[in-house]
Structures are given as C-alpha cells and as structure tokens.
C-alpha cells in the first residue's frame, strides 16, 4: 500500500508539472523547455527555506513562487520575442543556466552535495509526516491546479492564448498585445511548477541539482505529448502513464541479468507505438 501511495504522490507532483507546462505549450503553443528550471527553483526554495531559514513548508511555497515569478517575468519578456524552435532553444538555455547556478552557488545550494533533511509540511500542529496525509495534501494542490487550468482554458484569456497559438499575427491584428499574454502564462506556469518543486523536495527529503537538468524538462514535455496537448485530462493521464508504466514493467518476469535493460527497451517501444497510433496524444486537442 505504501508503495502505491508513494507512486500516487509522485504522480500528483508530475500532474502539477504537466498541467503547468501544458498551459504554455498546449494552450499557448510556446515550446518551453524551462520547466525543470522552475521546478528546481521551487524545490530549492523549500529545501533552503526549511533547513537554513527555519521557514515552514507553506512559507517556502510562497518563497518559491515569488522567486519564480520574478525570474519568469524577466525571462518571459525576453522569450516573448521568440516563437517556435527559437522559443524552445532560449527556454532550454534558461534550464541550463539554472542548473549551473544550483551546481555552483555552493554557499547557498550546497552544490553537488545537495541539501539533506528537508522536513514535511505542518499546519497548526498537524504534521503531514505520514505518506497518506502527504498524499492528501499533494492531491489537493493538484486538483486546485487542474481546476485553474480548466478555468483559464474556458476563459476569454484562454481563448486569446489559443488564438495566438494558431496565428499570432492575426491575434495581434485584432488588438491583443500577445507579448503580455505570452509573458503572463509563462509566469503563471513557472509559479505552479515551483509549487510542484516544493512538494517534491519535501517528499524526497534530499535534493541535488542532478534532478533538475534539461532532461527533466524533456521528460515533462514527453508527458504532455503522450497525454495530449492542450488538455488538462491529457496532462494527468500522461503523467499517470509515464510514471506508472516503468513500475508496471518491473513486475514482468524478465531474466534478472537483463531485466533493467529490457524494461527500458519495452518502455521506449511502447511510447513509440503510442505516438505512431495516436500522434496527437491520448487526449490531445492540438497537434504540433
């Protein structure tokens, strides 16, 4: 049971990340690979806040959001000038920069050694130390982000985002300042990724920069492509598939000498097959 609870915690965290990324890529058509950076900043805000500054978990969530918002506002302004592949390349650059900072700013982040002993959330004396309580809290935040996604998706703001995804010039000609829209959704997505990062840090109790590399951003991108772009349900299902599939494969009776390698091959083949049969993803409303 504990094993399933732990899988569910990870699934909830990745659902938050996928939903926040789908706001940028699916809803707005901006191919961002910077998500791992904001995820990492959120995680480090919690790790440093709880272990060095003596803040509570929820205080560190706000700290992470604040830092992410400031960075995303600055970077978002720059990114708003770009489209398509260029957007992806510049956003990937941010991911690399943040990883380097986490690795090299040792006085604050402890460098490659990482930060150990991150605590669990606590509200008015109630501790979320048990995994089931922690899962409840994580799911609650994931649901809030899910509702927020649907609300934006159905709002006039969301419709403008989808319009700029289809044709930015046409949207501009209708009087919308698309740069502001792009910057806002990027900032919101960054803030939400920071929340996921805070939960991850508290759950895992130890973080180091290796978790927040560009490849993590690519993994998140894979989640929403498999689940379906521009779909809240797709984000959640994508996270479920990519988190649970490798675990399901562990229960196939493969020869133990090559089990790990065969699992990777089967995992890759299944993803490939899924993309051939369902190129728009499982619940995708938009195809890149």
């Amino acid at each position: 049971m504990e094993y399933l609870i732990n899988l569910a915690i990870l699934f909830s965290i990745y659902s938050m990340l996928a939903l926040s990324l789908n706001m940028v890529i699916g809803m707005s058509g901006l191919v961002s690979l910077a998500q791992a950076a904001f995820y990492g900043i959120g995680a480090y805000a919690t790790a440093i806040g709880m272990t060095k500054l003596g803040l509570g978990f929820f205080g560190t969530i706000f700290l992470g959001i604040l830092i992410n918002v400031v960075i995303a506002l600055v970077v978002g302004k720059i990114l708003a000038r770009f489209q398509y592949d260029y957007y992806a390349i510049v956003s990937a650059g941010l991911s690399v920069i943040v990883f380097s900072v986490l690795l090299n700013w040792k006085s604050v982040t402890n460098g490659a050694l990482g930060i150990y002993g991150i605590g669990k959330p606590n509200i008015a004396g109630y501790s979320f130390y048990s995994n089931s309580a922690f899962l409840g809290l994580t799911v609650a935040f994931a649901i809030i982000i899910y509702i927020l996604y649907l609300w934006i998706d159905r709002s006039s703001f969301g419709r403008v985002l989808k319009a700029l995804r289809e044709d930015e010039k046409l949207t501009q000609s209708m009087g919308y300042k698309t740069k502001h829209y792009k910057s806002f959704i990027f900032t919101l997505s960054a803030a939400l990724s920071g929340i996921a990062g805070s939960f991850f840090a508290s759950y895992i109790a130890f973080i180091d920069p290796s978790t927040f590399q560009l490849k993590e951003g690519i993994f998140l991108f894979t989640i929403i492509v498999v689940g379906g772009l521009s779909s809240a349900l797709g984000s959640v299902v994508g996270a479920l598939v990519l988190i649970s599939l490798p675990e399901v494969l562990r229960f196939i009776g493969l020869p133990y000498e090559t089990a790990a390698q065969l699992q990777q091959i089967i995992y890759g083949a299944m993803l490939l097959l899924m993309m051939i049969l369902k190129p728009q993803g499982l619940f995708g409303k938009y195809r890149m």
Binding site: M1, E2, Y3, N6, L113, F200, T211
Partner: protein, 341 residues
C-alpha cells in the same frame, strides 16, 4: 516469513543501537531478502554493473551459511526512482535489509529505511544520511582518503598540484579536503578548475591553462567517461604528465591508459580473491565490484551474528579491505595508494 520479519524488526534496531540483542532469534526461515538499489541503466550503469558482479561473486566465493536472495531495483541514478525503489523493495518484495550503491541513492533511501525500520547499508563517503537510525555507510573517511594520497605525493617529492575535479558529490569532497590538507603536507594548489560532466568533451583549453601553472602533478577527479577523456587529452598535450586520482582509474574500463601512474585504491591485498574474480569475469577486479563484495559480505555477517554487538561484528569481520572500524554509524577502512602496472 512473518516470524522472520517480526524478529528482524525487533532485532535490527538493537543492532543499530549497538546493543546486545540477547532475545534475538536465529534466522532459520529462508531466504533472507536483500534489496539492492543500483543504477543498472543510464549514464552510471557501468558502476551498477560492476557492483552487481561484486554482489553475485559473494555467493560463489564465500558460499555463506545464510540463505539469501538479492532483489535488484534499477534507479537510473534518479532521486524519484530511488524513493519509489525503496518503497517497492520494502512493501512489495518485503526485503529484510537494503543495500545502496551511490551517495544520492543512499540519501533518498535513508528516510524510507528509517520509517520501515529496515537496516540500510550504503557505501557513500558522504555520511549525512547516517544521522537517521537504521542507516549505515561503509566507506573510507574522506579526510583519510585525501591524507593517504597527499602523504604519498609528499614522499614522492611532488610540490605543486593542478586540481581538476568534476561537479559531483565525491569529487567535491575530494577537492575540499585536498585544498584544506595540501599545506599540511607542504604542497600548493597551483591550479584549480571544476568540470561539469557531460557539458563538453573538449578539455584541451582547460588543460593548457593548467599546464601554464607548471604543476608537478595533476589530480583529476571524475568518473568515466570524463576521467578517460581528460587523461587522454592531457597526454596529448603533455605525454609525460604525472596524474593521480582517487579510485577513478580503477573504475575506468581503460586501465592500460594509466600505466605507471598511481591512484588511491581500496586495500584489497588478497591475491586469491583477486585471481578468483579474474577467473570468473575474465577481467581485473574493479573497485566497485570489490566494494559491493565487501558491503554484502558485511551485511551477511551482521545477519548471521545478530546476537552480537555491531562493534564486535565489525572488529571480527574478515573484510577484503582489511581492518574495519566503527565511527558512529560509519564503518571505515583505510585505502592505499597503488601504482598501476
């Protein structure tokens, strides 16, 4: 099996606290399940595979009296997968004890081991995770490692060191300790630079900069493939360069490249053991294989002698590393400097 688990749950905390577990029950129900979390795929899979060979070799070489089963979990050197791995092994496979192969994994697994009251033995020099009960590490003290190497370098007459280290846990600790201890041994760090594994494959400019500072010796600390790339490019620039490292030459698959250089190594002076390993795997004993062998051997020893104090078990343990000592929850041994022939 339930009885076994129950008895282990009662006994292991006592062992962990280094108290005599007089009420302890011999393990009569077989087999004891040992969970092992390693990177078996991905960038660091070479380490995981070397370790697996070491674990597998225990049964063949020692033929232990205790019946045990190893259950592997591939964490791909990922924190989230290691956390899931610990839970799967504890909850689904119902392992009795846990072994981990890297610092990162040990740090993540520590909490799950403590919550489930399962004894966990890592091999990390970074012993912060042993603050938690039930968590032990078996590794040389990182200050001892640097001291042994620096002492040897001093004896060989080296004065000026160029320190090139990777941005990762072990190399970071090496860099800090070497920098702090070098003056004690009358040595200077004339050049220092960090490399980020995977960021580039061309270190020639960095190495030329290092050469301009006229070091007597280069201390290169990284894991494969970076260590091989760095060394190869250094030899292109300076064919007679003297290089050294802590363990990494022995982990590299290209040991011939390091002929006549010296490197810190584990003190496995048991020729018969080395030969038996070579015979089985058709290659020389690798450092990670030896470490894994010693780690599992010690764990089996603890399980077999659970009525004894841990300090006594450690003291009487016939390790391939020679004498072991207990320092808090860190099990220590002394490394040696070895010239590669």
């Amino acid at each position: 099996m339930k009885k076994l688990l129950l008895s282990l749950c009662m006994i292991l905390p006592l062992i962990a606290c280094d108290k005599t577990a007089e009420q302890g029950k011999d393990i009569t129900v077989s087999p004891v399940k040992i969970g092992v979390i390693l990177p078996l795929t991905g960038t660091n899979s070479y380490m995981g595979e070397q370790m697996r060979e070491g674990y597998e070799f225990v049964k063949e070489y020692l033929n232990p009296a205790i019946d045990y089963e190893l259950i592997y979990f591939d964490d791909q050197q990922s924190s989230s997968k290691a956390a899931i791995g610990a839970k799967k092994l504890i909850e689904v496979d119902k392992v009795d004890v846990l072994l981990t192969g890297t610092s990162q994994t040990a740090s993540v697994v520590a909490e799950a081991a403590e919550r489930a009251k399962v004894l966990h033995l890592g091999i990390s020099s970074d012993n912060r995770f042993t603050q938690k009960e039930y968590n032990y590490t078996m590794a040389p003290n990182s200050i001892d490692e640097a001291s042994v190497l620096l002492k040897y370098m001093q004896e060989q007459g080296y004065k000026n060191i160029a320190l090139i280290t990777a941005n990762e846990v072990f190399a970071d600790m090496v860099a800090e300790n070497v920098k702090n201890l070098a003056p004690t041994y009358g040595m200077n760090i004339v050049f220092e630079e960090k490399i980020t594994p995977g960021a580039t494959n061309d270190y020639r400019i960095l190495l030329r900069k290092a050469e301009q500072n006229n070091p007597d010796i280069y201390l290169l600390q990284s894991w494969p493939p970076e260590i091989d790339i760095l060394s190869k490019q250094l030899f292109e620039i300076k064919p007679n360069a003297k290089i050294t490292s802590l363990y990494s030459f022995f982990i590299s698959g290209n040991i011939d490249m390091y002929k006549n250089q010296f490197c810190l190594n584990i003190s496995t002076d048991k020729t018969e053991f080395k030969q038996a390993f070579e015979q089985k795997y058709g290659k020389g004993l690798e450092q990670m294989s030896a470490t894994a062998f010693a780690q599992l051997s010690l764990m089996l020893n603890i399980l077999q002698n659970k009525n004894h104090k841990l300090s006594e078990i450690i003291k009487n343990n016939d390790s391939i590393f020679g004498k072991l000592t207990l320092d808090g929850r860190s099990i220590r041994y002394l490394p040696v400097v070895e010239i590669i022939k």
